[in-house]
């Protein structure tokens, strides 16, 4: 597996100012840097508290000795360690990071400041409502804004992430039928859907029936009509779908689903394509989850925390998770008295710190600003599409919205795959797009630039992609051995899975 190449020179691309940053080499683990006697905090000695022997406070068998392997480090060691680690990450603030469906847009720093205001950060979730009216007012304001944006009736801010919001949404559908004494077995899901959709449906107790996309990448209405029976509880749709294509027959789709008494669930992951331009409620959507870490800029943080509010039409409101935020005569309060609720999905109320950030963003944009977000996101994606057409294969010719899906069909004849192309992009100073998703397209390259990208970055990206397409033809081995300029070269994922090493151990050193 180990192939060595002399490191090729950094590619010359017109207008490309960026050079790939070579991160700190061979950093140690915290545990390997540890030295006895180092300490990173200032703590009072035990004697200032009291000096009763520990064993009189707790029985011996409930105590543990000092933990072998826990490191000893000074504050300086820790700062140095994590600063070095940070230099081994590529960040969207260096350049394009066009992961499809992830919406890697700019994370405003005013949001970080606001979430840390003491009144927010130091408020305990179990404080009496009278002492946290500011928090509850914020939740109310966010819910109002999201109602406006989605065109739906109520929004729960409870779920911890998009997948939880989905789960809540589908559970509410289940509960609505149960309340009527009905039990339906199936949920319909397109083959292009994100994996959390069938997983959530399964966990809510449904069986999944897959619907195949047609040659335009959208749902076939006849297929849907056939599949939509009175044993189907819901259709779970992503709009636009994961190919970036808007289901332009959405009203018809809603009619078909509603006609058999089913619910239309919308996965809101791609809201960035149409926020402020159309509203899911107006499309006939009954339940929708939002990803605050996508359209609403709460930071991805390396993989979380996110937040996944779920919005519903009025008839599903009784089933919302508890608690909801309500406005009463004496002020705002948390409502736990909801007998038809699906219950709790998590402790306490929600990802409050992320709610602060999302509200700040919405207010920073305003109504017209949000529409401009969608307009610009769609403009950028189509500009990229135009620039890459002819250089990469487009599996569907339907109009794309905020993201576009190419694949490696044109490069396959040279033995170059989507994975190779993705790895070579790193040498040009970009983060690869999403690869091999959706699974309905073989070798998919899903590109979503978002609206917070400058034109010159888009132009550099197009130039780089064209250069790689040329390299695939003229020097395929070069592409297949990439990346060369990153902190580590291509990683052996097979070895990692065959003999998993999932932590550092003292003996291994």
């Amino acid at each position: 597996m180990a192939e060595t190449h002399d490191t090729p020179p950094v590619p010359e691309v017109p207008g490309l100012e960026h050079t790939p940053e070579i991160g700190w080499r061979n950093p140690k683990l915290l545990f390997e840097t540890s030295r006895p006697g180092r300490l990173g905090v200032q703590l009072p000695p035990i004697g200032t508290v009291d000096d009763t022997p520990l064993a009189t406070l707790l029985p011996e068998e409930l105590l543990r000795p000092a933990i072998d392997g826990m490191p000893e480090l000074s504050e300086v060691d820790v700062v140095r360690h994590f600063t070095r680690l940070s230099r081994r990450n590529y960040t969207p603030e260096l350049g394009l990071y066009p992961l499809g469906s992830c919406t890697m847009k700019y994370n405003p720093r005013i949001n970080e400041e606001a979430a840390r205001y003491p009144g927010f950060a130091n408020s305990h979730p179990l404080q009496p409502a009278s002492t946290v009216q500011g928090n509850l007012a914020l939740c109310w304001a966010l819910e109002e804004a999201l109602r406006e944006i989605t065109g739906l009736s109520r929004v729960s801010l409870h779920p911890a992430a998009g997948a939880q919001g989905e789960f809540a949404g589908i559970q509410m559908v289940q509960a609505a039928f149960a309340k009527r004494g009905e039990k339906r077995r199936y949920v319909l899901i397109p083959d292009s859907a994100h994996g959390t959709n069938p997983a959530s449906a399964h966990f809510a107790g449904f069986e999944v029936q897959e619907l195949l996309s047609n040659e335009h990448g959208t749902l076939d209405l006849e297929d849907l009509e056939r599949a939509m029976t009175e044993d189907v509880a819901a259709l779970m749709l992503t709009v636009p779908n994961t190919l970036g294509v808007f289901e332009n027959h959405i009203l018809e789709i809603a009619r078909i689903v509603h006609g058999k008494g089913g619910y239309l669930y919308c996965d809101g992951a791609n809201l960035n394509a149409f926020v402020g331009k159309v509203r899911p409620g107006d499309m006939g959507v009954d339940v929708l989850h939002l990803n605050l870490h996508k359209t609403f800029t709460t930071p991805h943080g390396g993989g979380g925390p996110g937040a996944g509010p779920v919005a519903v039409a009025a008839e599903l409101a009784p089933f919302l998770p508890v608690p909801t935020v309500e406005k009463g005569e004496d002020g705002f309060y948390l409502d736990f008295d909801r007998p038809d609720s699906i219950g709790r999905l998590r402790s306490f109320h929600g990802q409050f710190g992320m709610l602060v950030r999302a509200l700040a963003y919405i207010l920073a944009m305003g109504g017209r600003g949000l529409a401009r977000v969608a307009e610009t996101a769609v403009l950028n994606a189509n500009y990229l599409r135009k620039g890459l057409e002819g250089h990469y294969h487009l599996p569907h010719d339907s109009p794309a919205m905020h993201e576009v899906v190419f694949n490696d069909k044109s490069q396959a004849e040279f033995g170059v795959t989507t994975m190779d192309i993705a790895k070579r992009m790193m040498d040009y100073g970009f983060h690869p797009p999403t690869v091999y998703f959706p699974i309905s397209i073989s070798g998919a390259l899903m590109i979503e630039p978002t609206e917070t990208v400058a034109k010159e970055d888009l132009d550099s990206f197009i130039e780089a992609m064209r250069a790689i397409a040329r390299e695939a033809e003229t020097a395929p081995d070069l592409v297949k051995g990439a990346p060369y300029t990153t902190p580590v070269r291509r990683c052996d994922e097979v070895a990692a899975a065959r003999k998993p090493i999932l932590r550092w151990t003292p003996e291994a050193g």
Binding site: Y436, E493, V494, A497, R498
Partner: protein
């Protein structure tokens, strides 16, 4: 490439009959689709299954495939070699990479399987 004496299933498994037992494995086509295998989960010996039951899984870095038994019967032996070194399954899927040996209840279960010629055609048509 595909041993002539074996029978084959639509799920790209091969079966070799030996008296009252049969040996089950996955084909070259299947191992190629999966990519490098990282983990194989096989059933405990002496467990009984019905035909078409899921009896184990094969994991690669990017996919998981279920192993189905084409026959009703009981597990007689499992191949520890592929558990210890999953790469064997990629290197020699029709030989050293066998998975499970079962004692079958009825040879009628083989009726639904393909012959060697039929499987070669099935694979070349790309019917999957």
């Amino acid at each position: 490439m595909y041993p002539k004496d074996n029978l084959y299933s639509k799920e790209h498994e091969w079966v070799r009959v030996e008296d009252d037992t049969c040996v089950i494995g996955i084909t070259e086509f299947a191992q190629k689709e999966l990519g490098e295998v990282v983990f194989v989960e096989l059933p405990d010996p002496e467990l009984t299954f019905d035909a078409h039951d899921e009896i184990g899984t094969i994991e690669s870095v990017k996919a998981v495939a279920e192993i189905y038994t084409p026959v009703s019967g009981e597990v007689v032996e499992i191949n520890d070699a592929v558990i210890d070194d999953p790469a064997v399954l990629n290197d020699d899927p029709h030989g050293e990479g066998w998975l499970v040996k079962m004692r079958f209840h009825s040879s009628k279960d083989f009726d639904g399987l393909m012959s060697h010629e039929e499987y070669v055609e099935y694979v070349s048509k790309g019917d999957d």
